[in-house]
Amino acid sequence: MSEREAIIRVQHLTKRYGGSRGVEDLTFDVGPGEAFGFLGPNGAGKTTTIRLLLDFIRPTSGTARLFGMDPRREGVQVHRRVGYLPGELALYERMTGEAYLRAFADLRGGVGVARINELAERLDLDPSRKIHDLSHGNKQKIGLVQAFMHEPELLILDEPTQGLDPLVQQTFYGMVQDEQRERGAAIFLSSHVMPEVERVCDRVAIIREGRLATVADIGELKAKVLRRIEFHFSEPVLGSSFEHLPGVKDVSVHGDTVLLSVEGTVDGVIKEAARHQVVSLETREPSLEEAFLAFYRTGADR
């Protein structure tokens, strides 16, 4: 990716604080129209990175470029093309949602009312109420409208779904996909939950303790994730019939219960299980930690 092409180009970006952790030597690119996940546990340096991109804080060393521009010297041009949702959203509590959005449309040099209304409707937001009286989820909706309203070329979203109920989360994912697919916007989405990044992003960077652990395609990462599945059958079955399936590990049998791990697709396991009578099955989304460890385990095997 040439410098001109990259929407975000971060090179050896480092921010050190006195005692607390910053970020260390980050290097990655986000291309045009790409949805890029920034995945890591809380406190890993996700917000610090975003604040560096927006010039709220200045790097100790290394560079960040947005649209090939320096966020410090060319901040106005950069911010014109960026929509931002902070992780800890703070709005002017005494304003109504409507007044807030109008003020920010004004700050952005004018945004069509139609666009604001369309976004508000899609999120089922009532903008006439005072922000002070809104639930956390409804405040988050105002934050989202504010980030999306000027049709930015880059959306920087810091933990965007926190506080949103599951239904609104789905709406939000749809909105992000529309921005990306219909308008060609690039997305930079930070999250501490794997499924969200999986759902929205094409590529993901995993950050841990201020350092990039890996940058990978979602597909690549997903293929390596270990998923625990527990089957309850109506009668005892032999574990050996599962052991030879591709990707299956750690099979253990306790009477009519089979516990196993699968790497990548679960298709083979489900088909094998279907030959018996399945009473119930339990599985859970692999945690970030598991995804991360899985990535490293298989990475080291190679």
Partner: protein, 263 residues
């Protein structure tokens, strides 16, 4: 007018209106007291003569002329105290207040330069302060004559201008401290303490030798000395108070442009 300035002005409208009502009330109240003070002037003067010299310096001793009365009652104590509470509060809130409540993040994510935000906030504060001193002066000029408090408009305007410059000096210092630290409480507290100390130094300087050479360091020295109600505007006083404002603004400009915002 920039979008940001429009927004800032709208945000402070209600607060400024409340302050304006307060200032008008104070000015009207003092005007209304003037006749009764005049009646008991003799007794008051005798009473004052027995007070310690320091205290007489603090509040002035001439109640009988409109200028003396206004100086003592309106422009020596309650006027500057109220006005500085307003100005220092506004100055520390402007940047540090928004930084502490985190609303500054989204504001600065829009296409505005930090230094433009600083400038617009300062202009909004200067405009609000201008309104308040204008309300104070107008009330005196309009309500005063009803109670025999007759004084030239130009003299009241001079005193109000000096009060304005004093308030802007402390308000801009509070703004600068907020820009430097990002802490509203600290900016408010430190500037408030500085105002209190320099006020006392100025008041006590004529009677306490140790303080007399510190007096020029007090902004209050450059506020009512010589009395603008009597002699009008003094160039040196305007220069000193404006100078404080300029230096503080430059410090704010430099520090806020460079600094990391607080997380």
């Amino acid at each position: 007018m920039s979008a940001l300035l429009r927004k800032t002005v709208r945000d402070q409208q209600r607060g400024v209106l409340a302050w304006a009502i307060g200032f008008a009330g104070v000015a009207a109240m003092y005007s209304a007291f003037y006749p009764s003070v005049l009646r008991s002037a003799g007794a008051l003067q005798r009473y004052l003569a027995n007070l310690p010299e320091a205290f007489r310096n603090l509040i002035g001793t001439d109640f009988t002329t409109p200028a003396g009365y206004l100086r003592t009652e309106t422009f020596s104590i309650l006027g500057p105290v109220l006005f500085l509470v307003f100005a220092i509060g506004a100055g520390s809130r402007a940047i540090a207040g928004e930084e502490e409540t985190r609303t500054l993040d989204l504001l600065l994510s829009t296409p505005v330069r930090r230094r433009d935000v600083l400038f617009d906030k300062w202009v909004a504060m200067a405009a609000a302060a201008m309104c308040l001193t204008a309300v104070l002066g107008l009330t005196i000029v309009v309500v005063g004559p009803v109670f025999k408090l007759r004084i030239a408009i130009a003299d009241v305007a001079s005193a109000c201008l000096m009060l304005y410059l004093l308030g802007m000096a402390f308000g801009t210092v509070a703004l600068a401290l907020g820009c430097f630290t990002g802490r509203r409480g600290l900016a408010n507290g430190v500037t408030g303490a500085a105002a209190t100390i320099t006020y006392v130094v100025n008041a006590l300087a004529p009677s306490v030798k140790v303080l007399s050479h510190l007096r020029p360091l007090s902004p209050f020295r450059w506020y009512l000395e010589p009395d603008p109600l009597v002699v009008g505007i003094t160039a040196a006083n305007v220069a000193v108070l404006t100078g404080i404002t300029i230096v503080a603004y430059v410090a704010a400009w430099v520090s806020f442009g460079r600094r990391d915002l607080r997380a």
